[in-house]
Symmetry: C2
């Protein structure tokens, strides 16, 4: 049966001041009327009922997640006691899933991407699951056709077509190799070659397959995960989880497994996808007016171009003579940034920590 | 005796969003712990006691003025029913003053300039008053040594020295001519010539002198003022003031009188002066840090240069990659402007009127 594992542990630094430590991106309504985690669960439709959905998140976010997802049983929220990147997170989720369903097929997906339409996504996952049923040891990934030479994504190089593309089915290929985030010139080569996809971090596999892969490629990590698994659903679970998860070295699933594994298939994603990586995503998701501005909230602008404004309906933001800026207003903090310097938001978070201004983190 | 007339009718468009229709610049604390009108009254020191101070302002600002100046008697606040520029305002004030003291000497000064130190100002006014006592028909003005070729001020060209400069006294000259705000190239010539001053709008004269000058150069205006004067301190005053003041054509004292009058003396101001004409004044008044930033309020900046930030202590403003901007935060509105496009704030006020967003005006 298909189980959905939603990775929802990200911290929301890039969406400061709206995102904070306890209110990261996945808990925000950045697009539409639902928060990103809610939209991600909604997107599953009939693929997986609530009892086959697992939210892998940070322990300190667990209660907020549960509040936003009242349709899920309490056990569906798996709170990790420490941040350890995606490989341990996926390993732990695979343990939980396979305990209840040893033959489980898992779809693993991030909670903070915008994907649509939902039907196209569901069809694609079903297709991926059928490929896994065909070859149970197989790993299926989704590749996004690159539209510019991005340096912020990992890439997947495709090899031979898996089979002639069937009517109404997305194209699928053997994976030649996974590639880490490239430098600009390499990213341009990838784009020009036409055979590279962005790695969207969505995977479909048997829970048993990824556990075997972790056991093989990451034996130390796997030993910790096995000790956690031994305590699963016993009174000692929390204590074991705390101790063993802390001892794990954080590493991404790409680095831990994908760059070494064989028989990986990439499906060319037949849905729209956006990683919503920074405030600039608002311009892509909501579009821009004739002056290139994306305005969400109460605003008056004069000589303003290429600018993103986001504020509440009860606070007026006025911009004069601004080009390529981002202005975000929240009740206790306002960000004014050059669009091309958004990365510096990380420095701001550091400065806030240094100043001890915890209330803004 | 010396009477002080403070012109406090200005609207505060340029300091939006802090200034509003009913809370213009002169009612704000833009510099120091006192509002600008309070600082202007304070600056008079012993020159004029409360009963010889007149605040000429807009009728709708009268109660706010009275609240900020509890030391003044109620009659000290003269509320004009219509905006008619400085000449009618000064004429009306001269009527009020000379009714109680026909031989009155008046100092006329704006409420929205920063001037200091107070002692230097007081000494300069006393010197000006002594020059008026020497020649009762004389008009005395103060000229500010220009520091750049400003196009936003009127200029005063000086002629011959009035007398050899006495020890501890400021230099004084006959005025050759008053000049309207010049274009850039003319402003540069003025600056280079060394014989032009900025007209700071501060005057000392006998009330009788300016009334005669208005009667001579502006007979139509003077006729209206005489009808108001005839009703002064009668029950009909308010009604007469309403009707006659409305009928007056608004005109500045420079245009109405100064450009035509003879025997005008200019004193080189021996005090520091700033017209506080826009948010950029904060950088002059408070200075700037090593990055050219002037920060008033709670702020964190990264890659921020030449920027002015003004906000409260309980709202954090973060700036990233900004150069030469102005950010002003108030509870219901935030301004983000390019420093070189501050003039456009006038367009914003128009847009707010068009949208019917009166609550922000």
């Amino acid at each position: 049966m298909l189980h959905a594992v939603i990775m929802a542990g990200g911290s929301g630094t890039r969406f400061w001041p709206e995102s904070r430590d306890l209110r990261p991106k996945q808990l925000l309504k950045l697009f539409g009327q639902r928060t990103m985690i809610q939209a991600t669960v909604d997107r599953l439709g009939d693929l997986a009922p609530p009892e086959r959905i697992l939210i892998a998140t940070n322990a300190k976010l667990a209660s907020a997640m549960a509040e936003q997802l009242p349709e899920l049983p309490p056990a569906a929220i798996l709170g990790e006691p420490h941040k350890r990147d995606t490989a341990p997170c996926i390993g732990l989720a695979a343990i939980c899933v396979s305990r209840h369903d040893p033959d489980a097929t898992m779809v693993v997906m991030p909670a903070d991407h915008v994907i649509g339409p939902d039907e196209a996504f569901q069809d694609a996952i079903e297709f991926a699951a059928s490929l896994v049923e065909d070859e149970p040891g197989r790993i299926v990934t989704f590749g996004i056709r690159p539209t510019y030479p991005a340096e912020i994504f990992g890439y997947i190089e495709r090899g031979e077509p898996l089979a002639p593309q069937a009517d109404g089915r997305p194209a699928s290929f053997q994976v030649r190799q996974f590639r880490e985030k490239p430098k600009a010139d390499v990213a341009r080569q990838y784009l020009e070659s036409g055979s590279f996809y962005w790695n969207s971090g969505i995977f479909v596999w048997k829970a048993a397959t990824i556990m075997q892969a972790l056991a093989h490629h990451q034996p130390v990590m796997y030993a910790h995960l096995e000790r956690i698994a031994a305590a699963y659903e016993t009174p000692q679970f929390e204590e074991e989880l705390q101790r063993e998860f802390e001892a794990i070295k954080g590493v991404s699933i790409d680095f831990a497994v994908m760059e070494h594994a064989r028989d990986i298939v990439v499906i060319e994603a037949p849905y729209d996808w956006d990683d919503v990586g920074s405030w600039q995503a608002l311009a892509r998701l909501y579009g821009a007016d004739d002056h290139g501005n994306t305005i969400l909230g109460k605003h008056v602008g004069v000589h303003t171009k290429g600018t993103i404004v986001r504020g509440p309906d009860d606070h007026l933001i006025v911009t004069l003579g601004l080009t390529d800026c981002v202005v975000v207003h929240t009740p206790d903090a306002t960000l004014v940034a050059n669009k091309h310097d958004e990365e510096s938001i990380r420095e701001v978070v550091k400065l806030l920590q240094e100043k001890g201004w915890r209330e803004y983190l």
